[in-house]
Amino acid sequence: MAGNTSKAVPVLFQSMTYEPVATSSTATAQAWLDHHSRSVGLFINGKFVKPLDRQTCSILDSKGGTLCSTFCAVEDDICQCISSAVQGYKAWSDFLCSQRAKVLLRMVSALEQHGQCVSELCELCEATYSSSTLVRLLQYYSSWAQLRDSLIKNWTPVGVVAVVISDDCTLYSLMLKVLPALAMGNSVIAVPGRSTALPVLLLAQLFMGAGLAAGAFSVLTGSDVMLGVKVAQNSDISHVTFSGNKQHAVILCKATAGMGIPVSLSLSVGAVCPIIIFESADIHSAVDGVIEMAFKKKKKEVHLVLYVQESILESVVANLRLRMAGMKCVDLPSEKAKAQADAVVQKAQHQGAMLLQACVAPSSCSQYPPTVLCGMAPSSPCVVTPSPGPLLPLITFRSNAEAVTLGNHSPQGQAASIWTEDLTLALETAKSLSVGLVWVNSHSVYDPCLPVSGHRDSGTCTDGGQEGLYQFLRPSSFSLQRSYPVTLDYTKFGTAPSPPIVPDGALGSLKSYPHYVGGKACKSESGCCAVVQSLDGAGLLAYYPDGGQKDIRNATEAAIKVQPSWMKKSPSARAKSLHSLAKGLETKRQDIAEAINVQTGLSLEEANLEIELSISRLSDWAAYCDKVQGGTPPLLQSGCGLSFPEALGVVGIILPSKPPLLSMVTLLGAAIVTGNAVIMVPSQKYPLPALAFIQVLQSSDLPEGLVNIITGRRDPLTVALANHSVIKAIWYCGSTEGCQYLQYTCTSPLKTLRLFCQKDEDADYRGRDWTNPSVLEEMWRNAVQWKSVWIPTA
């Protein structure tokens, strides 16, 4: 070794440059690929299957060479896979908790033995991989597998779970779905993206060797997102969960609309994450974090926007400039991406942006230097539509409150990094930011023990922590009802004109009820009315307002105005309000019992029994006010993790027909206990009990606008709720078409949906036993989203 390269030493002694990164050996991974003859099959029923006559998909390595090929699964393969997964579910869910936990632990050993192969394979496919993270995931979920029955009582696994991942999603995000699903006793069919396909296939093989039941974990590969759609559409799938980008999520949601299965979305890819540097920050560390986050990552999953307090702008910019000097250009996926980045930078410069650039952009190859665009505004094109490449827009802010406003002004709510040494400011900001994960004086810390719900357009489910497990569990007391999509013209749904009220002698003497918007009993905006028919359908009972889009709009405005202050109220203040509601119900029980009696034909005794149950339900909810709480999840690093349940915002509820009062107070309670405001639409058939309940609401001390009741025809009101972006969640109980409509429509902006298909109007809410107190846990869990805050300490 001596002598042959030593001529360079004096040069290097002068230049002091770093050694170029050597390409590490990938012999083990190559050997594995060779073992599979460079064509890795589908992983079905515990083994690799290479079906004949399938299209193949070439997996390319970083230099564009073909690494190997995978198969594109077709309908036959999907059926075969799902039937094995159904068998796999039976076997796997029959394992004892401790056995499942052992298998997961054995996976750790398998991973340790073959870690080299996995990491080499990931490197070949350019998939981000860290063996310690994967080991952590396995260990974490192994302990949940062990303790499922002791800590999560009355819940059972859902069955066969389809985990669909878009091409740009990481192995970590995929495993964050697969492992909890397996740990809870489900079988999983993973449909990975291109870059994760090979690593997942290898992991499936390793996991199988660790003692997983055959069929419990299958992997299907294909060429695009349509494979995920086809899998999700199969009637033996019980739950679909997706991680990745918004576009694919929308395709998946639309394609599964009306299937009657829940679809959970975690849209971490492509979100805009704010980095906020306050004047009280350790600027050097903050700048360091910014550079790591924005320019040192191999793959850019999220778009960043840097917010800097005006008073420290100079210092931050000077430090950024110094630290960025000499940084190397970053590889972009394509020439096109580079052209895009170039265009964005030019446009920004044209608008007066000052550039901090590590070096000059090379003209030829698809590389781009790390670039900070100073002097941007929220309206700048590079902020509104983030572009690929190592570009970081910098925006200044004046006050702490303004930082939060700016940080929240984004359609997504994935994560944020905030920098300040002021503890109070840090916690206040963390609480006010509408994101699922806040890193205080740190960045990019992910851990399975942190429960994170993507806020806004970033998702509809919680991943991580105990809270994330419920995605893969259902209350033991109920079973999934499948349905089949019908042909539905989404543009025409709910647009049928209201039936005319034919003038009749009897109508004049009927009582006319108002509905309840913004704390006021009022008529509908349109002034239209509908009539309640009597039980036998022959007689008429009363008028009620035929509400529409405008009424929903008014109610939403009232609700969003009052919701933040309601959420901030102390739990005991909220409990007091709920108690007052219960008391009000007690006082008006006569009226309401009559309404139930007239409306549903239940005897007065039965009606009174329902009122009794409703009162105690409200008392239960009042008691829950200070029991719905977060925790302090323990991470591996030293520091303090916090998790908070947060209100969703404004929730739209389409109520079931029966039991009219109990179902209403149960859903109402679940929503407001956790800090939400509600807009409720009573059953079109049985509106009277809800209308009678308005007087109870009026006499309670709930803030005006927190609870709104809008009557009218269900379908047009469903459409109105679906098309109001302020409404964050819809709990729907109604027709199959309605469910299908909502699933299809509520994708932009994303709404959290809980859909219960009520096939028969007179059936109880999907056969749910409303008297069973165990419904409460499921309900409040549906009414919150989780936020985690990570504060490192030394």
């Binding site: 030493v9 002694f13 002091m16 770093y18 050694e19 110094l322 000499g326 004086n441």
Partner: protein, 318 residues
Amino acid sequence: MSARNPGTQFDLQWISRVRVNTPAVLRRAQSIQGQKVPRREYQAAWLLRAVTCIDLTTLAGDDTPSNVHRLCMKAIQPVQHELLEPLDMHDKGVTTAAVCVYPSRVADAVKSLRAANSSLPVASVATGFPAGQTPLETRLQEVRMAVADGASEIDIVINRTLALTGQWEALYDEIRQFREACGDAHMKTILATGELGTFAMVYKASLVAMMAGSDFIKTSTGKEAVNATYPVAIVMARAIREYFLATGYKVGFKPAGGIRTARESLVWLILIKEELGDDWLCSHLFRLGASSLLADIERQIYHHVTGQYAAYHDLPMA
């Protein structure tokens, strides 16, 4: 080489604005330690650069003219000619940056170096080294005498009592006086970071030392319980960066104490390159205070050149 730092007015506001986030600094230190160190010819070049930044030091009660003489001779030829030649580095004047001794040994060191026709600077610790707990007048006198004996660099220790009790202006005044006493000799200010408690204190002390006109700030005396650590170095380097941004003067940095292996010296170079940039990777702005480090570096270079691992007795001792 840029001009010597003349110091600035004392600025209490600047000092009180200082914030340091401990976990973030520790994480940064971890990430720097986790970086791959250069290998092969890159390593050889980097190690030789490290050699040129060493203040070869002996600070012991039993120092006598004979071991100081040996030290000086080693400093002039820190790596054997036979090892430098294959690397084509034999004619590049690879010496250590200076020798560093107690004030009473300055004359011996100067004599040895003059006799060997070397212009290698002699550095002397001073001002009640290592504790600094002697009267200001004797500390000043110590500096003057070391300079008179021929020391061209003075490593002063700060008065930790003033720092810990927050008397920043008094500390500033003291260091200013030391600087005057140094005259043309370069002043390295030892913060004794192991005794300052928090990173914020280290940062503040760094700023005060630079405001008072230090040419270098140095981590420790080598006599405290905790010496040069990477996190502390990051904090001091950042203070240097901030001072540079504010005044345009580049102040040097010297870690000292506990640096023994070649690998450590490489991590130090990486740290400086990352936090301060290439400008600081020379003996004008970076020194490594060490005594046994040199032997390990020489062994590594021996290995690079010959492919064999040397026993310590294979190489000339210091």
